[in-house]
Symmetry: C2
Subunit: 571 residues, 2 copies
Amino acid sequence: MRTTQYLLSTTKEKPADAEVISHQLMLRAGMIRKVAAGLYNWLPSGLRVLRKVEQVVREEMSRAGAVEILMPVVQPSDLWEESGRWEDYGPELCRLRDRHNRQFLLGPTHEEVVTALVRNEVASYKQLPLNLFQIQTKFRDEIRPRFGVMRGREFTMKDAYSFHLTDECLAQTYQVMFDAYCRIFERLGLNYRPVIADTGSIGGSTSHEFHVLADSGEDDIAFSDGSDYAANVEMAEAICTEQRAEATEAMSEFDTPDAKTIADLTEQFGIPAAQGIKTLIVKASDDSDHELIALLVRGDHELNEIKAEKLADVAAPLQFASDEEIKAAVGALPGSLGPVKLPMPIVADSAVAIMADFVAGANVDGKHYKGINWERDLPAPQVADLRNVQAGDPSPCGNGKLDIKRGIEVGHIFQLGDKYSKAMNAGVLGETGKHQTMTMGCYGIGVSRIVAAAIEQNHDDRGIIWPDALAPFQVVLIPMNMHKSHRVKEVAEKLYAELTAAGIEVLFDDRKERPGVMFKDMELIGIPHTIVIGERGLDQQVVEYKHRRDGEKHEIAIDQMVAHVQAQLAD
Amino acid sequence: MRTTQYLLSTTKEKPADAEVISHQLMLRAGMIRKVAAGLYNWLPSGLRVLRKVEQVVREEMSRAGAVEILMPVVQPSDLWEESGRWEDYGPELCRLRDRHNRQFLLGPTHEEVVTALVRNEVASYKQLPLNLFQIQTKFRDEIRPRFGVMRGREFTMKDAYSFHLTDECLAQTYQVMFDAYCRIFERLGLNYRPVIADTGSIGGSTSHEFHVLADSGEDDIAFSDGSDYAANVEMAEAICTEQRAEATEAMSEFDTPDAKTIADLTEQFGIPAAQGIKTLIVKASDDSDHELIALLVRGDHELNEIKAEKLADVAAPLQFASDEEIKAAVGALPGSLGPVKLPMPIVADSAVAIMADFVAGANVDGKHYKGINWERDLPAPQVADLRNVQAGDPSPCGNGKLDIKRGIEVGHIFQLGDKYSKAMNAGVLGETGKHQTMTMGCYGIGVSRIVAAAIEQNHDDRGIIWPDALAPFQVVLIPMNMHKSHRVKEVAEKLYAELTAAGIEVLFDDRKERPGVMFKDMELIGIPHTIVIGERGLDQQVVEYKHRRDGEKHEIAIDQMVAHVQAQLAD
């Protein structure tokens, strides 16, 4: 490809509204352009990378026995009514009507469509297991699209769905997909980790996310320093092995007119955060005899909402009580709440249950108690794991301590079970001739998000540094002052023809630009292998080769260049 | 690919609601499944063919200098307000709102998005010409989706858009695209013709459609038998070289109480259709001094609405007057109308203007005149080309006569001019430093429709007969009773491994099915090259090869089979 026939669209300026480095570099390198919030044009260089990701994903999915299909972007509402998601899915689901006023939606995932397909096409257990995948445009009406294609509204996803007679068979395919995902992310040259994950609104039991590690990630991942254990912080169990200490203080009330938070108590009264507790009032579930429930976490800990939501008595999704509701029930406002004589059920995090001589609100505005002790000043509470793990916590696997890093979720696999197949009556005739509901797995990869995640891991202050597997072009040819030197032009054209004939993807920068402009642009775009052709070397029949990563210059004989590049690519 | 790990989904039954052969065969061969009206799942075999079409299109577009991008399916309404199409486009445009109540649409084409992109990215004439293409999902809310993927609502299209400083440059790129389209349809093995076309709602001047010739086509194409001339019947000029004959009869009124149509006049009074005229009353344009206009075509001719619409005094789109409006203006109803003393302007087709002694309604219900002659009984009319050409008409090119065939439109190219660039203010700095509006071309190919069109041209009563370039697999391996014969299994596995290693796409039918079932399925799917492995040949180390098209059996040595298939594919 010649740059003069291409849409290079590089820019020097740092884009104003791009918060993360991948978004900035994708704009500056001419990979994407915004059309509207969360909607992007993929420019030529961006699309070339996107297609490379797609191809690696396609090859590894096929190798793992999945068969490619293509389902429509626009889906009829009736299938979603069968599964129940037409009602359950929030405003992220883009609903629309056709000219006959029939209801449709833009698919955020395709469980319903694929389940209906397999229900019709597969009649016997002999046709199972079956694993179908597609690489297709998805739409999710994110409330706050951001970070470019990292969290766009329209995006490319690989989604696979497997169908089985038994959960054992599902578990086997799940493992095959797990391994395929590892190969995909390895081939793409990404620093990634599979982590234990929540199954969320998709439903089902076992689930893993695949995260690319990067500071700009939106998820916190907990890793053990003593084993392979890794889990989304949402899911990592907080282990409490300590015993409760003896009470040493008497409980006493003190005035705290200006202390509404743990930080205020620390600042105004020198109370360590780990000595205080936070009392959080949430709505009870419809099944509960109560309206409100109090959740207690230690002052230096954070409530884990997913863990809280799983408590039987707590409404899901989690809803915090309003100030008015709290005042009406307790007689005090948030900031002065505590477990002593609190008129509602209490669930304490396990780290709270072992506290002694602790500090909490007195349920009177502007007053706290100190020296509170369980089973003396108030009954022992119901205990649960309610908090996010923190760096330094013991690993739930039993080996090592936890470290916390940021991750970008690029893949997610689920053992769905019969959530969809049961609701949609998708079964087969089993070995004994009886109708049997199928069990399902589903396996997603955020194809467009991977492009951004790869940049987060592969860049420097001059631009992107593509791994060979993802580079929009493998080689860039930079002829210096070609428009003035016939010799330079001749060698450049010869190398362009030879490299292209060898099946190497070459960008030939044939613009009438100063060499400095060309170097800057090509470093920004991140093409890994650079060949510079200048007058100087031509008497010796050599040209300059350098790699984007180290920038080290090597003089290579012109007639050895194809072999040299091939050797570099084979590395 | 092994059939046991595949989703074959063939069916014997002729589908009830499939009107055309391609739709029937795509359902029966397991290529597509309906999700809702005009929305389809592409099953594995269908998708493999779709991707092959995409790849040929992509390669030839790239070879012709177009650069691939990807624009979003969901587009914001504001760009369409700039171009004016938000108002102009009818209910085929699927409009929707996001969670913030902002207006969007599902793209039926992408002129607005690409024009806005180029407006922002291209500043100087030096960056022109530029030709951008994408292969993307489109949505058109067809009032009556039919013929499977031939006229679906969601479909895959290749659309390209070129940008130029001058119309000469546009004309050059238009010719390059014209040639690229010819190469694409040739590589796909299709019997196609480029035809002169109407520019319709896309706008612009010069335009060609590319039609695959098939009886099930929805368009009529007029061909010259004496030249390369071909045009959509909508566009073919009707040539009239004859002179008007002398009047030989006096005009006289006769009673026609039961004759409302030309066919009635022929049946009841023996008047040849070519001696009668049809008087069609349409609305005048807003600019006209009149409300209604009468259009006259010969009794055996059909009005061409596109030609009529282009008359200055006629409203566009064409609107026929209602019976009430006609009765009020003329005093008679349709069925008794004619040009004599008709109180409105008259435009006669050129074939009508040379008629003598002709028959028409008397503008009194139940009465007609015969023996009418121009310039004696009524003034000579305004003359225009108003009718569809017919088989046997002289070709407008001056050589030969016209023949009419049915065609399926699979491509359409336009010289758009400045329709979009002017409305959206898309310009560059020209050579003299002045801002200059760009001129544009656009070039579409119906990728998914091509799959159906290819089947219309390549099938027999047993199923599809794929050209090598489009076949979902190149070779099918049919081992007879493999599950009983170890020797058959061994040879089948060996050939599967060897062919696959040679880069040949093989479907290995490893089902426990009777050979007859396998043969029927594979003929239905249309895989071109078949290898049958049976016990009988193995003593001589031979297996059977046959081609789907002729079915002729050849015994080939097992160790020669890869070379044999390669030779067949190279043919």
